[in-house]
């Protein structure tokens, strides 16, 4: 019987993702994460020894995959960007304190 995901693992994953799960959401997430294990069982049926992972399809389509030259170019206008900030002092994004006493 393959290992199943525990509620503790679900809570840990939620913490990693900076998401809060309500108590009634947890059982559904346990079952959803278990479906990943089912997917993996399916994929593990396939022999992939010697197969390189495919991260970007460009390599199949004859793409160069070259990186561009590392050259500084103008970016977005600061004022325009800060105009969208929930809270700003005009130079920085203001956020609540980082550390709790």
């Amino acid at each position: 019987m393959p290992a199943r995901v525990t509620v503790e693992e679900v809570e840990r994953v939620a913490e990693l993702a900076n998401l809060e799960l309500a108590p009634d959401e947890k059982p559904r997430m346990v079952s959803d994460l278990n479906s990943i294990l089912d997917y993996m069982a399916e994929l593990n049926q396939i022999d992939t020894s010697g197969v390189a992972p495919l991260a970007q399809v460009t390599e199949l389509a004859g793409g160069a995959g070259d990186l561009r030259t590392d050259r500084v170019r103008p970016s977005l206008d600061r004022a325009a960007v800060l105009s969208q900030a929930p809270e700003t002092d005009g130079a920085f994004f203001k956020v609540p304190k980082v550390i709790e006493r």
Partner: protein, 484 residues
């Protein structure tokens, strides 16, 4: 079943619209105004548009009218009313991505594809409703309410680009832009009876597309006919310095390529896509489409894509993993929704995301986070990427034998709002039909292929190899010409 008042007429062709402007029969400003009137009449029921860009649209229309008045040559899309899916940014207009977490956000830049349409003369009418962060296949996951299918407003338009497909079907825009990660252009195109194009990954710059899964995301056009969809692709395609993954491959004249007869093209039909779960009426229409291709002088042969069924687990692992990374930026710090009552930074992150994201988005982030977490990365994400290569190479081998592969776009026609179809086999097939091409990076489109007996649109999916969009367009024109 179709209600006449919401599906009154199809848009004119690009050529007819352009001729109207050049001849002085119509002014771009008047055309834009009449589209806004139509939107005002239909939007309360269909919920296609989330916001309108009237000032920008009018300025552009007047600019076009100025050129026409002087007798200056008009750009290729002069005065064309276009709608933009709300995951694509337009400077100064809201971009919600169908989510509350971006409510109030006005991007300070334009999506490259949007810029290119506007430079070609298009009039950008406004931002169109979609599933939240492009996650969904019915446009029922929008935080701003579902979109209704203009053919039958009790039914979904498909998703995630449901609004973009519906806009063209209801002539609330002549063309629209959408995005496709696992089928989000093709499937709504088939549900609404319009053409939707999936360009090769890297064909169209993703700069300005709010990312869902970066190795899968594509921007593509919707139009009422194949030739116009090809024209639109030609306008938005091409290398962009702002997207390092955009291809340097030259952009052919897709419309001209689509004019070439389909005679002599070799068409592959994969048995894996004609299995149990495929609605018999959908099958019948697609088979009529294949008959039409035979009649047009194409050779039809079976192809084998034996790893097709593994596409679903591969897709779910890769798409959710990439989504979890891409959506980490929505944290209340720099833009969008920030939860009010947080006394620490980490509480602010958690609360903003918890309050701002919908349930489906949260679910996918959690799945992806799990797949990428320490101890699982290689076993899950890594393995999925290996199987992805196997799937992609299977397509490449098939395209050595055939010029295009045809399948139904969706195993079922549009279902009713609130009723995700009960049959798990159909839902499973629905994923398989579209995610395979997404994973392989190949191109394709959905072309209308008649309707069911009750009038629901059926779409045929036409797939072609990397950067072989011309083949897909040629085949699509032959299906379209059969007027099924």
């Amino acid at each position: 079943m179709p209600t006449a008042e919401t599906f009154a007429e199809k848009p004119k062709t690009l050529a007819e619209l352009r001729s109207d402007l050049e001849s002085g029969r119509t002014k771009a400003a008047d055309r834009a105004a009449s589209y806004y009137e139509r939107i005002a009449a239909l939007n309360p029921r269909l919920n296609v548009y989330l916001s309108l860009a009237k000032q920008r649209a009018l300025e552009q229309a007047l600019r076009i009218d100025g050129l026409a008045a002087k007798g200056d040559p008009l750009p290729p899309l002069a005065g064309l009313p276009v709608g933009i899916k709300d995951v694509l940014v337009m400077r100064g207009a809201p971009a919600t991505a169908g989510s509350k977490i971006l409510e109030g956000y006005h991007p300070p830049y334009d999506c490259t594809a949007v810029t290119r349409l506007e430079q070609a003369g298009a009039v950008l009418l406004g931002k169109i409703n979609c599933d939240e962060f492009a996650m969904g296949s019915s446009n029922e996951n929008s935080a701003y309410g579902p979109v209704r299918n203009p053919v039958d407003p009790a039914r979904v338009p498909g998703g995630s680009s449901g609004g973009s497909a519906a806009a063209v079907a209801a002539n609330m825009a002549v063309a629209t832009l959408g995005s496709d990660t696992g089928g989000s252009i093709r499937q709504p195109a088939s549900f609404c009876g319009v053409v939707g194009v999936l360009p090769t990954w890297g064909r169209v710059s993703r700069y300005g597309l709010i990312a869902f899964a970066s190795s899968l995301d594509r921007i593509g056009p919707f139009a009422a006919n194949v030739r116009d969809a090809a024209t639109l692709l030609g306008v938005i395609a091409g290398h962009d310095a702002m997207d390092a993954t955009s291809s340097e491959q030259p952009v052919p004249d897709y419309a001209a390529e689509s004019d070439q007869p389909a005679e002599g093209l070799r068409i592959g039909v994969p048995a894996e896509y004609f299995a149990e779960g495929l609605d018999p009426e959908v099958r019948a229409q697609v088979e009529k489409g294949i008959d039409a291709l035979r009649a047009a002088g194409c050779s039809i042969k079976p192809v084998s894509l034996p790893h097709t069924r593994y596409a679903v687990p591969v897709y779910y692992l890769i798409a959710t993993a990439e989504a979890s990374a891409n959506l980490a930026r929505f944290d209340g710090v720099r833009y969008g929704y920030r939860s009010k009552s947080s006394d620490t930074l980490s509480a602010m992150y958690r609360n903003s995301r918890e309050e701002g994201f919908g349930a489906e988005v949260k679910r996918r982030i959690l799945l992806g986070t799990y797949a990428l977490s320490a101890g699982y990365y290689d076993a899950y994400y890594g393995k999925a990427q290996q199987v992805r290569r196997i799937l992609a190479e299977e397509f490449l081998r098939a395209f050595a034998e055939v010029d295009a592969i045809v399948t139904p776009t969706s195993p079922i026609p549009a279902f009713k709002l609130g009723e995700k179809t009960g049959d798990p086999l159909s839902m499973y097939l629905a994923d398989i039909y579209t995610v395979t091409a997404s994973l392989a990076g190949i191109c394709g489109l959905s072309v209308p292929c008649g309707t069911t007996a009750s009038g629901l649109p059926v779409g045929m999916q036409i797939l072609a190899g990397h950067f072989q969009e011309g083949n897909a367009f040629r085949v699509a024109r032959a299906v379209e010409a059969a007027r099924l």
